[in-house]
Structure formats: C-alpha cells, structure tokens
C-alpha cells in the first residue's frame, strides 16, 4: 500500500511537470494555431540557463539560495528564448500556420545541434540542496521532497494562470482570442501583442518544467535532447486534454503522469517491457481519440 501511495505521489509530480509544459503549448495552439516544436527547446534552454547560473555563482551562498536563483533563471531563460522566437521567427510568418510549425522544427534542430556541439551529448549536473534529494516520511509512506517541489510549482502555476486568464485585462484578451481571434482584432485590440505574451508565458513555464524534470526525474542531470523527449508527452497531454484548454491540460497531465508512473512500476520490471510506461501513454491517447476525437475538454478554456 505504501508503494502505491508513493507512486501516486510521484505520478502527480510528473503530471505537474507535464502540466507546466503542456499548458503553454495549449495556449499557443489555442490562440495562434501553432504546434510549437520549439517548446522542447525552451525547456532545454531553461535547464541550461539554470545550470549555468547555479554553477557560476559562488557556492558560499548556500545550495538552497542557489537553487531558488536557478529556478528563477530557468523561468527567465525560457521566457526570453520564447519571446525572441515569437518576435523574430514566428512573426514574419503570420497567416502561414504550416510554415510556422516548420520553422519551430528547424529552430529546435539547429539550437539543440548547437548545444550538442557546445556541451557534448553527455549530461551536466545541476547543484541542488541536499534536502531535495532526501525523502520525507508520513507514517510508512516515503515521499521524495523533490516531488513536493514539482507539485507545488504545478499548483502555483495553475492558480496564477487561472487568475491571470480570468481576471487580468490581457488574460481576457487571450481568452477572447482563443475563442475568436478575428473578432478580437476587429474590435481594434492588438492581438499581435497577445501572441508574444502567450509565447513568453509558455516559455517561462517550459523553462521551469525543464529544470524541474531534470531535478525530479533525471537525477539532477540535464542533456541537450531532454526537452525534445519531454515534448512528445506534452503533445500527448495537450491532445488528450483538448487543444486550447488549460483545465483539460491539467486533468490530462495528471492522468498521463499517473498512468505512466503506475505502468512503469508494475509492468516495467518484466523483461522487454522497460518502455511500457511510455507505450501505455500512447495507448491511452489512442483510446481517448477513439472515444472523443476532440479531446476531453476542447472548447472550455
């Protein structure tokens, strides 16, 4: 039973990270019809910026402080990369959705190639506070502390994002744009600014997701291709949740995280089934699409 609970907890933590990655993708798709392949790149950049900052600041500041700075750095790195991408690469291609998808693919390949050239394909290690590697005990159940961080980050982002989209002026413009972009521009509102904004927000969440994934599930290691492998699951979450729906992404992220975690533990130990967790997620996608081709929550932001 205690294993079951620990798994539930880490599944939710994984789901939180998927949510961070997928909600941005979903917003970008909802508003701009772009399938953003560079989202994995934003995750990778977030993780590398965090690594760069954390390893170059004096260690005497203490690991907890450095880690908090690294988290902030990953958010800034991801949002900056995303903002620049939108302004310089996506903007010239407004009105050509396929070209926009293609250009994000090219960008992803090019920059990942550059990172591979600069840092090599070997993993780099991010310094983290000791507390993060340890586990807390609740009765018989042992819960890794890093899972708490992912969970809290996911919850905070969900609450802030919901608040932003429902209460703030720009959030309302974004929601209106997802609903009917042409009508929003017809009302004289600058949708272009909203486009840049969703990229910046999506990039910020992606950057954080990249760092947290490394810390929670990858033994504090980062590699140039990590973001791209995460991206596939973020895509799956977005499709299951319904393209353009934030709540859908949140629910789908939890389901995918839990399914992946449980199948990995209970079935993955059999020989030739090491990838069963990943396979079961794809199976889940196929089932959901057969049952509801537009995802679980499409149409409700």
């Amino acid at each position: 039973m205690s294993v079951f609970l620990t798994l539930a907890f880490s599944g939710v933590a994984l789901g939180s990270i998927y949510f961070l990655a997928a909600s941005g993708l979903s917003l970008i798709y909802g508003l701009m019809d772009i399938l953003n392949f560079a989202h994995g790149l934003f995750m990778t950049i977030g993780a590398y910026v965090a690594w760069d900052v954390a390893t170059h600041l004096p260690a005497s500041w203490g690991a907890p402080v450095l880690f908090i700075i690294a988290m902030v750095a990953s958010v800034l790195g991801g949002s900056l990369a995303a903002g620049l991408t939108e302004v310089f690469i996506i903007r010239p291609l407004y009105g050509r959705p396929i070209s926009q998808i293609l250009v994000t693919i090219g960008l992803d390949l090019a920059v990942v190639g550059l990172l591979l050239g600069g840092f090599g394909s070997n993993s780099l290690s991010i310094p983290v506070p000791l507390w993060l590697i340890e586990a807390s005990h609740l009765g018989h159940v042992s819960l890794p502390n890093s899972d708490f961080v992912a969970l809290i980050a996911g919850l905070v982002v969900l609450v802030v994002l919901e608040w932003f989209l429902r209460r703030s002026r720009y959030g309302i413009i974004i929601r209106a744009g997802v609903e009917n972009r042409d009508m929003v521009s017809a009302l004289g509102i600058n949708v272009g600014r909203a486009f840049t904004l969703v990229f910046v927000i999506g990039g910020a969440m992606a950057g954080l997701a990249g760092l947290l994934y490394a810390v929670v599930f990858s033994g504090d290691l980062i590699a140039p291709t990590q973001g791209d492998s995460l991206l596939i699951f973020a895509f799956i979450v977005v499709v299951i949740g319904g393209l353009g729906s934030i709540r859908g992404s949140a629910v789908a992220a939890l389901i995918v995280g839990l399914v992946q975690d449980y199948t990995n533990y209970y079935l993955g130990s059999h020989s030739g089934m090491a990838e069963i967790g990943n396979l079961s997620v794809v199976l889940l996608l196929a089932i959901v699409l057969e049952w509801r081709p537009r995802g679980l929550f499409q149409g409700t932001l």
């Binding site: 992803d108 390949l109 791209d228 895509f235 990838e275 196929a286 537009r294």
Partner: protein, 352 residues
Amino acid sequence: MSVSRRGVVVAVAAFLIFLLVPFIGVHVPWILPSTVNIINSTGTLEVLALCFIFAGVALGYDVIFGFTGLLSLGPVMYFATGVYVFDITLTHWNWPLVPALLCTFGISLVLAIVFGAIALRVSGIAFTMVTLAFAQAFYYLIEDNPHGLTGGDTGLALVSSRLPGFMSGAVSNTRNLYWIAFGFLVVSYAIVWMVTESATGHVFVAIRENERRLEVLGIRPFGFKLGAYVLSSLVASGGGVAYILLIGTAVPSAVASTTVTLSILIMVVLGGAGTRWGAVTGAMIYVYLEQYLLKVSAEPSFANLPSFLRVPLSQPQFLLGAIFVLFVLFVPGGIAGMVGRFRVRREGRNRG
C-alpha cells in the same frame, strides 16, 4: 502538371549519369563526401546510394504531405518497419529473400492501414500529433528489444547466408547496392508519378486545397487520404529495405527516431513540397550535405579553427536546421519554388 520537354531531357540525363557513376573513375578534389577524391570510390558511392534512398522516401512522404496536405510525423515508423522486419526475417529466421520481402511489405501494409485509419479519425494538428505519438511508441517498442528481436540500443546487424551473393554487404558489392538504391528511387518515382498524375492524384491535391468542397461534390476524402498514407508508407518501407542492405546495421536512433522524420520533412520542404523533382532534389542535397559536413569536420585542419567556428560547423544538425529556418522564412516553395520564380521572370523578359 504537364511534362515539359526540358524536364524530360534533364530527367533522362540525370538518370544516365547516375546509372553510370560506378564506372566513372575521375579524380575530383574538395567536393566529394569521401576522403578518397575519386567519384566511384566506395565512400562516395555509399553516400550517393544513401541520397537515393532518402530521395525515394522523401518522394513518398511528399505524396501525403506535399500533395495531400496532411502533416504526418510518422513516416519513420514505416521506414523502420522496412529496416527491421527485413532484417529480422533474414537474420533471425533465415528466410530466403522473396518471402522476407513479401513479409516486410505485408506487415507495412497492415500497419499503415490500421494506424492510418486510427490517425485519420482526427484532422489538422491533432492528426500530426497522433502520428508523432504512434511513431514514438514504435521507437520505444524497438528500443525495448522484445524477445531479443530488435537488439535494442545496440542494434541488429544484417547477417544472412540466404541473401544472394551480389547483395551482401561486402565492400566489393557497394556498386551493386548503389544500383539497388538507385533502382528503388526510379521505381518509387515511377509509382509516385503515375499515382499523382492520375485522377486519384488530383483528388489528393483537391483534399489539400479544399476538403470541404470535395465533400460537397460527393467525394468522401477518407479513402483517398488513407490511400495517400498507405502509398507513402509502403515507399518508406522500400527505402528501409534498401537502407539495411546498404548500411548493414539497424540502430534505433538512426532509423526509428523522430529526428529521421524531421529530416525527411526538411528534405521535402527544402526541395519544394508538392513537386516530385523538388522532393528528390531536396533529399539528395540534404543527405549529401550532411555526409559532406561530417567528413569536413573530421579533417585534422578542422581542429585548428577557433571554437566559435568549429563548434557550429561540426554539427550538421545545426547547419541544416539553420538553413531550413532561413528557407522557410525567405524562400517559400523551396528550391522548386525558386526555380519556378526564376523561370517565370526569364520568360517574362523574353516576351517583353
């Protein structure tokens, strides 16, 4: 699309030249992708054969992406099916060539129909994501090495005594494998040409241009979309067979990963999606450039370059990705589009 006389002349000339390359022992400095500067050296023939294989696969992919307008991210799945089923039936089960080929294409056909039918239940971006997810699942399956069949990460070398002698991977056979790869390209081209010029091909293009209108005309697009998907999948499998014969080893990261799909997509877009010769040219240039850059970055003088030049130049992935971004931004229609615009301008000048 009518066939121009100039097009026929260029096609026949290219066919004859590439057919005869293995007999041309001319010394050419600098531009060859092999360290031996002779056109018919083993290294160069191998690279050219690889160019043909991906040109064929890209052409098949152009049917679904360029002609029918469906952004599938699953072609690698069928390429990998070609590679692995052929490899497994020969290496593990020691089947003769013909049954192995039949089995490979049979499995590919079934997979393409089943997965195509599922993926085509959704349209637009969701279709793209579903094909991507299936291809990724397929990759995981191969990595898992079920029953020791695929060899997992270490790969599976093609070893078979049943393979006809002239096809085996010996260096002296490179010339034969070159012709096999070229034959694959020619056959793929002929098939794709016939299909895209037929009435069915016109329906493909109509789906790309305006699917709703087609439905109004009383034509149900599903069957045609599935047909385009299956055709491009079978061509990809044929490419897989030629690949494993040429390269001799199947490694998941090289034949089954998403990177392969993205490269195929880039080849088609670079050359010009929706044109046959564009897809072929794009693929030939892409593969040639990739192999050439690998050779250049391995040269000793390369290590003396300052790191801000050496690091980016040593990564074909970076250079090709960057070229691709520039093409998408500044050269719509790829190489075919560029040539088309050039031709229009010149004809305008002649007339004017």
